[in-house]
Subunit: 369 residues, 2 copies
């Protein structure tokens, strides 16, 4: 008998990595990136209040974090006008998606997502033996009606829908999402990934009753709050679903320093508004640079800009590689026909200057191939 | 159709919490504990070098942590004389146990542990539908021979064995574990939880070849390294098993600040030795207090002392409640016949003074019931 004696499901899975981290690329290139614009992190960092809270909490790192995330859940509930029973906190949206899929999806269960949407969600569905049905983007945006139709056809238990969308930056109107809920097949849960929602216009945010059992909303401190490395996300759901997370989650899994930081960050909404404004400026600057060099910038309600390189995937990939070789970390997490694009995260002036320097060179190199 | 539409397995699970955190108890008691001696945390805290590293890394919290945990794995490999391919890092041993069980244990698969051993392991086995077979303690210690016999009888895929043991504080000789490996049924993996190994005598540590496929060793920064709230543990295993974790783990799950802190803590072995000495002193002081009041302290190779209260579970529970009511957080995570005991974590002078003040009152109250 050979070791390790994995389950048939585990045996069938590759040792996949959903994303290669920039540190791995830096080691391969034997250089550090000049600009880190590939992972939709917030180069502007967390609120100074959150930073101070984390530094203070480091002295308490010998204590386990509160497994109920009590104080943070209370604050989130007040912030969203719900009760703490509507909130569950986890190790980023990645961790929460893993638990959600585990709770709902067993071997052979159908799940629907968009072709080209978040790979880590797909990783979790495969990891629990679910069967993923993919719907193409429509006009470079996720097509909620088509997702729902496919869910009805496949008796799917779960639909993944990001609004605003990563990697396209596009968004749907909240009213449209509200209307679509009534079209959901009975028993099908809509997972609404709102990782970028703080950057979106107000009318992109659906009004959904806290007790609506058909939807779970995912939020995070990794994007607008600038705390990707802290690993704190949360889900808003009807209490029956939110409490179901307690059945299987890693109860002591959220870092104590991160809990303190997230609580402080949530309390500094003025800083958040400032970040949203700075990100909007940065998006405009990235779009300006891109347009000057013949690329087109897609509209974005996120902290990144998706740039249409105007040719095929081979060309976009060459541009991507040219930027990376010139010290600018960006990503191309697209599938055709969106794979004509590259994705650039909002940066500070210096980051955008690096991008502006590297882009024409990368374009020339890509055209010369 | 009712929401949420959980899998039959998830539906069958309670919303269990393996351990109630002290913060929940403090909220229920409407007071803070004077001494936090219940969760085997290190009241001595992390190395000043680790603390400084975490405070410095807080400024980088906007970046995701390296998903490969590269630098920490390199350092751990050098520390243990293995290669980085023998090391996988996760969100504490709790997180690693969850992934290990997920990889090996499907519905109906047999797993063996000791009756009264780590509840979080049992939580994970139940969470993936495994069938848990429990073997009683023998002379207040885990009985490896009996665990192995039971594994053979049940065709178990996995045995959980902690050395030193929590909650008893007892330990086995390394040579005995090495010999027992040859008795393992073919295909049965021994999960050796060494969370407390830094406190143990040298001859309690088995010498096991890095490539031995029959064993996975779990280690943590939560205990001797004083970083429970950081959530960093690691497993040492043959590369085929260590890399299998990549199939399903939350790749970006380890907090960036925690990675930096763990790397720094590992580099400060002088501090670790000092902590081990201070913990030994604290154990002696706790034992002295307990003996003075008629309890007996069991030998311990950990950072806690298990105290035999000399009567039954009802009495021990009354003593526990008396201590908690008097501001001393301790725990009683035992099953009969070990449930005659309470467990007290090594503390600083002030913590032990609180314990020494509260114990006689708690004993009087318990006897007077």
């Amino acid at each position: 008998m050979t070791y390790p004696r994995l389950t048939p499901l585990a045996e069938s899975l590759p040792s996949t990595v959903p994303f290669v981290g920039p540190e791995t690329q830096e080691r391969a290139l034997s250089r550090l990136f000049d600009a880190r614009l590939g992972a939709n992190e917030s180069v502007f960092g967390p609120s100074p209040v959150a930073l101070a809270a984390m530094q203070a909490a480091a002295g308490d790192a010998w204590k386990y974090g509160d497994p109920t995330n009590h104080d943070l859940r209370e604050a989130l509930a007040a912030h969203h006008g719900v009760t703490p029973d509507h909130v569950t906190v986890g190790e980023g949206i990645d961790g929460l998606l893993g638990v959600l899929v585990r709770l709902l999806v067993g071997p052979g269960d159908a799940v629907v997502t968009s072709d080209g949407a978040y790979p880590t969600f797909n990783f979790h569905v495969a990891g629990f033996g679910g069967v993923l049905h993919k719907v193409p983007y429509r006009d470079d945006a996720e097509d909620l009606d088509a997702l729902i139709s496919r869910a009805a056809e496949t008796d799917a238990k779960l639909i993944y829908f990001a609004n605003p969308d990563n990697p396209m930056g596009s968004w749907a109107y909240g009213a449209g999402i509200e209307a679509a809920l009534d079209q959901l097949p009975e028993g099908c849960l809509l997972c609404l990934d709102e990782a970028y929602v703080e950057f979106a216009p107000e009318d992109a945010v659906p009004q959904i009753a806290a007790d609506d059992p058909r939807v779970i909303r995912m939020r995070t401190f990794s994007k607008a709050y600038g705390m990707a490395g802290a690993r704190v996300g949360y889900a808003l759901a009807a209490p029956a679903l939110a409490s179901a997370f307690d059945k299987v989650r890693n109860h002591f899994g959220v870092n104590r320093i991160a809990q303190a930081g997230a609580l402080a960050a949530l309390g500094d909404q003025r800083y958040l508004r400032d970040i949203v404004a700075r990100v909007a400026e940065a998006r405009a600057q990235i779009a300006e640079v891109a347009t000057r060099h013949g690329l087109s910038a897609l509209p974005s309600a996120t902290n990144f800009v998706t740039l249409d390189c105007g040719r095929d995937e081979v060309f976009a990939k060459a541009v991507l590689e040219g930027l990376i070789a010139r010290g600018v970390f960006v990503r191309m997490p697209f599938v055709a026909p969106q794979s004509r694009c590259i994705r650039v995260t909002a940066g500070k002036e210096a980051d955008i200057a690096h991008f502006a320097r590297a882009l024409p060179e990368a374009l020339d190199a890509a055209k010369g191939r």
